[in-house]
């Protein structure tokens, strides 16, 4: 049995009050394991992104707990939650959110700079990560000069540069064509996933389901099914 990376217990989140109250996530419990890629799938509005935000320390749940590495993250003070995100989680956002005024290598180095690492050392580490994602030659270009797939790889390099235990991908193939999307996820599975790392992917894209270890289906804020793929 692999080690548990994330343990979510009875997570619930609602927005608004009274008649305007919307229950986004309803008493969701699940576990994610190191060495596995867990997909969270479901239609729009099913609560995938809200769930992902709660387990990554971004959105405080109304009830329930999230245990990561034996710590209940929502019992930590605000600054320690920020540290948790910086040290334990790597994010790949749907729109990448790369800084257009920074070079590719500077974009990748951001988490290290936020960790107060030396600038030159951070650039050196970032260049190594760019090499891993096959973009060493693009290090000094600005993101606007890169294709969508390349920008996605830069975002992945930024997510892994601080060697986080958990990687979170939000709709990673939404802005990519089918072949590029598959190539990226295949690359992630082959090169980024390891025994000490857990990857969570929120997606609609059925074309990449084959790479998942486990697929968790959500509807109307609840888990409606879990499927082991590999």
């Amino acid at each position: 049995m692999p080690n548990t990376a994330i343990k979510a217990n009875q997570l619930a989140k609602w927005f608004g009050e009274g008649a305007a109250k919307t229950q986004a996530v309803k008493d969701v419990s699940f576990e994610a394991y190191f060495g596995e890629m867990l997909y969270i799938v479901g239609p729009s509005g099913s609560g995938k992104t809200t769930l992902l935000s709660m387990i990554s320390g971004i959105l405080r749940p109304n009830s329930g707990t999230v245990i990561v590495e034996d710590k209940d993250i929502w019992n930590l003070p605000e600054d320690e939650i920020a540290d948790f995100r910086l040290n334990t989680i790597g994010f790949v956002f749907q729109d990448y959110h790369l800084f257009p005024r920074l070079t590719t290598v500077e974009n990748v180095a951001i988490p290290l700079i936020l960790k107060k690492r030396d600038w030159d050392e951070s650039m050196h580490e970032a260049a190594k990560c760019l090499e891993i994602v096959g973009l060493k030659e693009r290090a000094d270009l600005h993101p606007v000069k890169l294709s969508g797939g390349e920008q996605q790889r830069v975002a992945i390099a930024r997510a892994i540069v601080s060697r986080p235990d958990i990687l979170i991908f939000d709709e990673p193939t939404a802005s990519l064509d089918g072949d590029t999307g598959r190539a990226i996820i295949e690359f992630v599975k082959t090169n980024i996933l390891s025994e000490n790392r857990c990857i969570l992917i929120v997606t609609h894209d059925a074309r990449i389901f084959e790479f998942a270890n486990e697929i968790m289906k959500m509807e109307d804020g609840r888990i409606v099914g879990v499927e082991k793929v590999h």
Partner: protein, 378 residues
């Protein structure tokens, strides 16, 4: 934090268009603020030039006098009355007036004439050429070599001119600390010669210059002179009175204040709006930084650094531009009344800090409000 500041710096300066717009806004505001306040300082400095140059401890005048140029003559007995006050070391008369001089070329030039006490020459200027004793010679005048010197045909010792059909001879060229406000040459002569050359009213005593025996006597002397119906002011008080006149009783102070406020508002508008746009354009990126793990205070530091850095560069450029313009103007117009003082620079610095503070406050509010969850939701 060094790396975070470097990151903030790159985010700022790599956005060349916004950075330039921010710099232009602040530079322009500082330029206007320094320019306006420098003109003000220049005018105030020049308006008190005679008081500064003559340097008497106490000036006695008619209570209605507001500026050194607009004298109201006092009767001669005032001088004797003052000399009899306990604590007065000495008291001497000073004539201050204006005349039209006919120069050697035949042209006429307005001049300011100061008549010094015949026996003591209290308030005499420092001579560059000639001998001070020559002022007692017939028709003798001393010309001040200031920015207006050339208007008097840049005379040398021995130069002849006329005032009211009286012959005048330049016996000395003097140097003064400060030039006058009205852009006319200044002549020094003796008190009695000044009365002889210039048309007089019934009373002739422009000012009485008083030296107390000790500092402790000043208050007593002032009270005694007040009892005579006249006003005694220390040098500092007289300069302040002249400044107050220009600030409050002419439109000069109001206009300068208005222009300074307008330049502050213009600078604030340009830089505030540009900085706000800069923050808005990068809002999602700041949100992403927050999601990645940047703490609130680090984001605040980044924005403060960006606003502060821009403000300081703009401040330096504004001061440089203004001093260059004033220096250039003084080359072309030697009497140009503008002076950059530490007070001007300090005032502009405070204004720039306020501009940077308000601009960054707007940005910080926006950045702190954005939730990383909004970035996830897209």
């Amino acid at each position: 934090m060094k790396g975070i500041f470097r990151l903030a710096f790159k985010l700022l300066v790599n956005d060349t268009a916004k950075f330039t717009a921010l710099l232009v806004g602040i530079t322009f505001a500082v330029f206007l603020m320094i320019q306006m306040t420098s003109i003000f300082a220049g005018v105030l400095g020049k308006s008190s030039a005679n008081v500064t140059n003559i340097g008497s401890s106490i000036w006695v005048m008619d209570p209605a006098v507001n500026t050194v140029a607009n004298t109201i003559p006092m009767p001669d007995y005032v001088l004797d009355a003052i000399r009899s006050i306990n604590g007065v070391k000495y008291a001497v008369p000073l004539y201050s007036g204006a005349a039209l001089a006919k120069l050697r070329s035949g042209t006429y030039q307005s001049v300011s004439v100061l008549g010094l006490d015949d026996t003591s020459l209290v308030g005499r200027p420092k001579l560059l050429e000639g001998n001070i004793d020559d002022i007692f010679a017939e028709n003798a005048f001393i010309v001040v070599k200031d920015t207006e010197f050339q208007k008097f045909e840049s005379p040398t010792v021995g130069y002849e001119f006329e005032i009211n059909d009286h012959r005048g001879i330049v016996v000395g060229i003097a140097k003064l600390a400060s030039a006058g406000l009205f852009g006319i040459p200044t002549l020094y002569t003796t008190y009695n010669r000044a009365l002889q050359y210039l048309p007089n009213s019934r009373f002739t005593l422009s000012y009485v210059l008083v030296e107390p025996k000790s500092i402790g006597d000043v208050q007593h002397i002032k009270q005694q002179i007040k009892a005579l119906g006249y006003l005694a002011l220390t040098k500092k008080e007289f300069i302040q009175r002249i400044s107050d006149f220009y600030i409050y009783q002419t439109s000069l102070g109001t206009n300068i204040l208005l222009m300074t406020i307008i330049s502050f508002i213009v600078g604030l508008s340009i830089s505030g709006q540009t900085f706000y746009t800069f923050v808005l354009e990068n809002l999602e990126k700041f949100g992403a930084l927050k999601a990645i793990g940047t703490k609130r205070y680090e984001l605040v530091c980044m924005i403060l650094f960006q606003a502060g850095f821009t403000a300081l560069i703009g401040y330096g450029l504004g001061i440089g531009l203004c001093t260059a313009l004033i220096a250039f103007a003084k080359l072309r117009l030697p009497s140009y009344a503008a002076i950059v003082t530490f007070a001007n620079i300090g005032l502009a610095f405070v204004m720039v800090l306020i501009i940077a503070g308000i601009s960054s406050y707007i940005g910080i509010r926006k950045v702190l409000k954005i939730e990383p969850f909004d970035i996830f939701r897209g």
